[in-house]
């Protein structure tokens, strides 16, 4: 890897870590009902109106079951709303491009995808969704699915911090406050900067321009039934089409992009997401967008530390995340910068003053391989799933990094809220093993980890790998599944593995060559996403409830300290080992064997 690569990684992490403390403490204020520097005065009336209309009181706290039930009910309504919006978008306003109704299976997939904070996009954004669907369906879910994750995290943190109570807070209050005071202001801020950088925000229809150099292309001649016509010799009849204009998709992009980055959603306005120059026009916009991916998940670690009354605990978790991030981002940048070995004889892939070089297939010139690789690892570490380059065309080992990052169960930063609560479950597992090794019944922050917590933690750790492995297994032996991959053989396997891992972990990014907009993949993926989200949310809240009921054990010299470099090492090892042991065989059949064959050439 070149020094440019190292410098870019360092720059990214430095800015990210600088923002952790201010934003983290601000978020802690949100969840502890402390003054918010005037923001609460401005938005307070809306907040209180919401409670009043909902018939809830701010101090009316719920136990874990009611909290979980509220969360599920709210999300279910979200799924239904997005589904219906897609199905009837023809009848609704704000559809200047006259998009037709989305198919039932695709609507189901997209509805679950956005409600679960996955934002896997089986559809092509600019040619499927009306502006109204994008806004009222997708943008809304971008906010509330993120806020749901943050609410569940707030409940878990309270469960850890409180003692001998069954109250975890109110889902409605946490949801509303997360949206109003954290997501909305940050999104507005980012949206405005993105506007300045060139991201469109309009309700007018797609633009048409007369291009400078007209061109033409050929396409198969279709008959009335849309089947290609063949001539007497059996060769397809081709039409030549002249192109003198360019239709440019625009829309209310900036508002949606801001929240899709900040809320670790990832569902872009356009098909190619943030590789699209109108979604991510400049180096600066790219930096801010990739920063936004990890911003809240990283800062929440500090919030956690504050709320449990021991900031070191937050830094510990963050340190573990940063280490795993580095362990994958460095090789990813290295392999993408080194370029594709099969192209060495054909083109110049070296970094010079005049070109970034590297593996440029599927990458934007203004972003280059380094920023594409950093983004790839950040977006898969967080369950963001937005992309600024096509992961499918990464080098085998460069592509392994984001793929494996997803398979680490989205706990390295992870989704807003969901990443940290997932990581805290890994902390519980690590504490359990470590606790035994020092000869005490394991405890975390004064709470004993007993068989109930282990049962729930085992479910949580088990669900995502199970979904990925089983989903891929179904896809790679069923006829409908085998139609998906656009690449043959090994890489086709990687495409399926990536697609199932992405949905089975609520990430949403893809080896986009997988043609997943089919009933088979839409349904399979939809089911994976639902299980992966809620089969983790409910046990997490169950753990929160159980921990809240426990007594607080004061720390002593015999207590395993969970803020030391040693514990960071242990946590990192636990996450890596579970991920490696689960996925090494599958990865061997995908990226690893592809790499070995590639360098064998």
């Amino acid at each position: 890897m070149t020094t440019t690569g190292l410098f870019q990684i360092a720059l990214y992490l430095a800015v990210l870590l600088l923002l952790v403390k201010p934003l983290g403490s601000f978020m802690a204020r949100v969840y502890r009902f402390q003054p918010l520097f005037g923001l609460d005065l401005a938005l307070g009336p809306i907040e209180h109106l919401t409670y009043k209309l909902c018939g809830v009181r701010k101090d009316d706290e719920q136990n874990w079951k009611t909290y979980a039930l509220s969360c599920l009910a709210f999300n279910l309504l979200g799924v239904l709303a997005v589904y219906v919006l897609q199905r009837v978008q023809t009848m609704l306003p704000l559809n200047p491009a006259a998009m037709s109704a989305v198919s039932p299976d695709s609507s189901f997939n997209t509805a679950t995808s956005f409600a679960t904070n996955t934002n896997w996009q089986g559809y092509v954004g600019e040619s499927t969704m009306s502006y109204l669907t994008q806004m009222l369906g997708l943008t809304v879910q971008n906010f509330v699915s993120a806020a749901t994750g943050m609410a569940v995290l707030a409940a878990l943190i309270r469960g850890i911090a409180r003692k001998t109570t069954d109250k975890l807070g109110s889902f409605w209050v946490d949801l509303t406050r997360s949206t109003l005071y954290i997501l909305l202001p940050l999104s507005a801020l980012l949206a405005i900067v993105l506007l300045w950088q060139g991201v469109p925000q309009t309700f007018s229809k797609y633009k048409t321009a007369n291009v400078l150099q007209p061109s033409s292309y050929t396409t198969p001649h279709l008959d009335k039934d849309n089947t290609p016509v063949k001539d007497a010799k059996g060769n397809p009849v081709m039409d030549t089409v002249n192109v003198a204009t360019q239709s440019i998709a625009v829309g209310p992009v900036a508002s949606q992009i801001a929240i899709k980055q900040l809320g670790t959603n990832g569902g872009g306005f356009f098909n190619v997401n943030s590789a699209h120059p109108l979604e991510n026009p400049t180096g600066l916009s790219n930096f801010l967008e990739v920063l936004a991916i990890l911003l809240i998940p990283a800062a929440l670690c500090y919030t956690f530390g504050l709320m449990v009354g021991d900031k070191r605990q937050g830094w510990t978790v963050l340190a573990a995340m940063v280490i795993i991030f580095l362990a994958l981002v460095i090789p990813c940048v290295h392999f993408e910068q080194s370029g594709n070995p099969t192209l060495n004889a054909l083109a110049d892939q070296h970094e010079t003053a005049l070109q970034p070089g590297g593996n440029m297939e599927g990458k934007e010139a203004r972003l280059g391989p380094i920023n594409s690789a950093i983004w790839a690892v950040a977006t898969t570490g967080a369950s963001n799933g937005s992309v600024n380059s096509m992961h499918d065309s990464f080098t085998p080992l460069g592509g392994l990094c984001p793929l494996w990052m997803i398979q680490l169960s989205e706990v390295v930063f992870g989704g807003v809220g969901s990443g940290l609560y997932g990581m805290l479950i890994y902390v519980i597992v690590a504490v359990f093993i470590a606790g035994l090794m020092v000869g005490r019944t394991p405890e975390y922050l004064g709470k004993k980890i007993e068989s109930y917590e282990m049962k729930m933690a085992a479910i949580i750790v088990l669900v995502p790998p199970a979904l990925c492995l089983i989903g891929t297994a179904i896809a790679c032996v069923s006829p409908a599944g085998l139609l998906g991959p656009s690449n043959p053989g090994i890489h086709g396997f990687s495409e399926m593995l990536y697609g199932m891992s992405s949905q089975g972990n609520n990430n949403g990014s893809a080896f986009a060559g997988l043609n997943a907009n089919t009933p088979f993949y839409n349904l399979l993926g939809g089911i994976l996403m639902l299980f992966s989200r809620y089969w983790i949310v409910v046990p997490t809240l169950a753990i929160a409830g159980s921990l809240a009921r426990k007594k607080l054990i004061p720390a002593s010299a015999g207590t395993l300290p969970t803020h030391t470099p040693l514990f960071v090492f242990l946590l990192v090892s636990t996450v890596i080992l579970v991920g490696a042991l689960t996925f090494l065989p599958a990865l061997a059949l995908g990226p690893i064997v592809e790499h070995l064959k590639l360098i064998g050439l």
């Binding site: 300045w196 309009t202 625009v250 010139a365 990464f394």
Partner: protein
Amino acid sequence: MKIIRPTIICFLLLSLITGIAYPLAITLIANVGFRHQAEGSLIDKNGRPTVDESAAVGSFLIGQTFDQPQYFWSRPSATSPMPYNAAASSGSNIGPSILGDTVKSRVDALHQADPANSSPIPIDLVTASGSGLDPHESVAAADYQISRISRIRRMDAEQLHALIARHTQDRAFGLFGEKVVNVLELNLELDQVASIAAASQPAATTK
């Protein structure tokens, strides 16, 4: 029930706030402060910003197909049905193992257009961008094409270097992104400074 009412009301209110009020507010700000960008960063044939669609030759941020020898070629695009289809962005999604043949044909096309040029071909000129709409290419990619364009347009290499330099965007604040050349702008100015020669030359074959 204690859950149904808040579920419905909370959902409706948050939808209103985040799905209607928020995008509208941002649109309002866009119209006041960033009208040009908000409408897609369109430019006219002089390369100047415009919001008038009829005068637009394209967007500053959206690449166009340039595959005739008198223009700086843009990067390959994998959109369908034609390259640089800005209504359906797409990458090639070709895996690394089978990319060789595709790149080979792109390399051959470049060699065919300029057989005398034996310098190594910059990688971005023979690889499809992620969006298929990349408005840029590397300085190296533009430089590589100088020999062909100077021959066809009968221009000085120096002059072309200067032209490229004028349309080169450095990293933002010297830190973010990569140094790139805006191909549409470059070609627009190219047409203006040397309204050729292209007329005297027979129009080159496409592809």
